[in-house]
């Protein structure tokens, strides 16, 4: 069965039913390892144990942006190819991306209070991340406002494409503006500037969270396909009562 066969919702359901338990199990195992590594990681010489919040904050930011990127590709699938699974992917990814963005904002806020004395500051990176959260909420609101799923998908697709401009702004905000937030230390053209003893646990945590994201996304996509079936059957039911 080629990957393209997954485009059929029924085949996707079969794939999801097999994949989700397996993926979930792998996620739990990797998480157990990741949390263990995070706990035994050494304290930062400046920040002490507080640096361990980074192991939550960075994956949250990464996944929040990954989810919107996924939604952007799905948006193209909806608008250009009218791909059946593109709508489902976009709708399923939105709440998950919003949740991880919220996690990034909250953990960042809790990290900022002891480190820099304030829960929030309106600098470029924090503001653009907050804007991303607002964009997520707007997309979710739009999904819930338009009743017909296909029309909703097209409206959301346009909003998603426009909102994608925020992603490079977030990424490069620490370079373009003077900010309180620290500059890029992992994804740089030169080597990462974090010490390996902290970088490795960070990467493992990121991997664990990404696996969690994949599991949740598949499960949410499955739910969405089932929800559409329910809707179709209910419409059939409403027209059958005579």
């Amino acid at each position: 069965m080629a990957v393209i066969d997954l485009a059929n919702p029924t085949r996707f359901l079969q794939f999801a039913n097999r994949a989700i338990p397996w993926l979930g199990g792998v996620t739990v195992v990797v998480f157990a390892f990741a949390i263990n590594q995070a706990m035994v990681a050494p304290d930062d010489y400046q920040q002490g144990a507080t640096v361990k919040i980074m192991f939550l904050h960075v994956p949250g930011a990464w996944l929040g942006m990954l989810a919107w990127g996924l939604m952007t590709i799905a948006a193209l699938g909806t608008l250009v190819w009218r791909h059946p699974l593109a709508d489902v992917t976009a709708k399923a990814a939105a709440p998950i991306g919003a949740a991880f963005t919220l996690m990034c904002l909250v953990t960042g806020s809790l990290w900022g209070r002891p480190m820099w004395g304030t829960y929030w500051v309106w600098d470029a990176r924090l503001t653009s991340e907050l804007i991303l959260f607002l964009l997520y909420l707007g997309v979710i609101a739009l999904w819930r406002t338009v009743e017909d799923p296909s029309r909703a998908a097209r409206a959301v697709a346009i909003l998603t494409l426009v909102g994608a401009i925020d992603l490079p702004i977030i990424k490069f905000s620490v370079d373009w503006w003077n900010t309180l937030h620290q500059p890029a230390s992992v994804f740089r053209l030169a080597a990462p500037t974090i010490d390996p003893s902290i970088l490795i646990p960070l990467l493992i945590m990121t991997a664990a969270f990404t696996l969690l994201f994949a599991t949740l996304l598949l499960a949410a996509m499955r739910n969405e396909i089932l929800r559409r079936r329910v809707r179709a059957l209910r419409l059939m039911q409403a027209s059958a009562v005579s």
């Binding site: 029924t10 304290d43 002490g48 144990a49 507080t50 361990k52 919040i53 939550l56 904050h57 949250g60 709440p95 998950i96 949740a99 991880f100 919220l102 996690m103 909250v106 953990t107 809790l110 990290w111 209070r113 002891p114 969690l212 949740l216 499960a219 949410a220 499955r222 739910n223 089932l226 929800r227 079936r229 329910v230 059957l233 209910r234 059939m236 039911q237 059958a240 009562v241 005579s242």
Partner: protein, 67 residues
């Protein structure tokens, strides 16, 4: 080093992350059960997908029988 006074923030951050992850997982799992329940309910009333109802009576007739 004020590492100990920061412990509250570290715990709070991990608790918040746990709440987010837990909430997401719970929502996804609950939604799954709800949708399966609705599908089962509709199937009981005779409304199944065309592929599934190939062997049974057409839904419209079934509905007329039941109402």
């Amino acid at each position: 080093m004020e590492a100990t006074s920061h412990m509250a923030f570290i715990v709070a951050a991990y608790a918040a992350a746990g709440a987010v992850v837990g909430g997401l997982t719970a929502w996804v799992m609950l939604d799954y059960r709800v949708q399966l329940g609705r599908l089962a309910d509709l199937e009981k009333r005779g409304f199944a997908r065309r592929s599934a109802s190939a062997a049974s009576a057409p839904p419209a007739e079934r509905a007329r029988e039941k109402s």
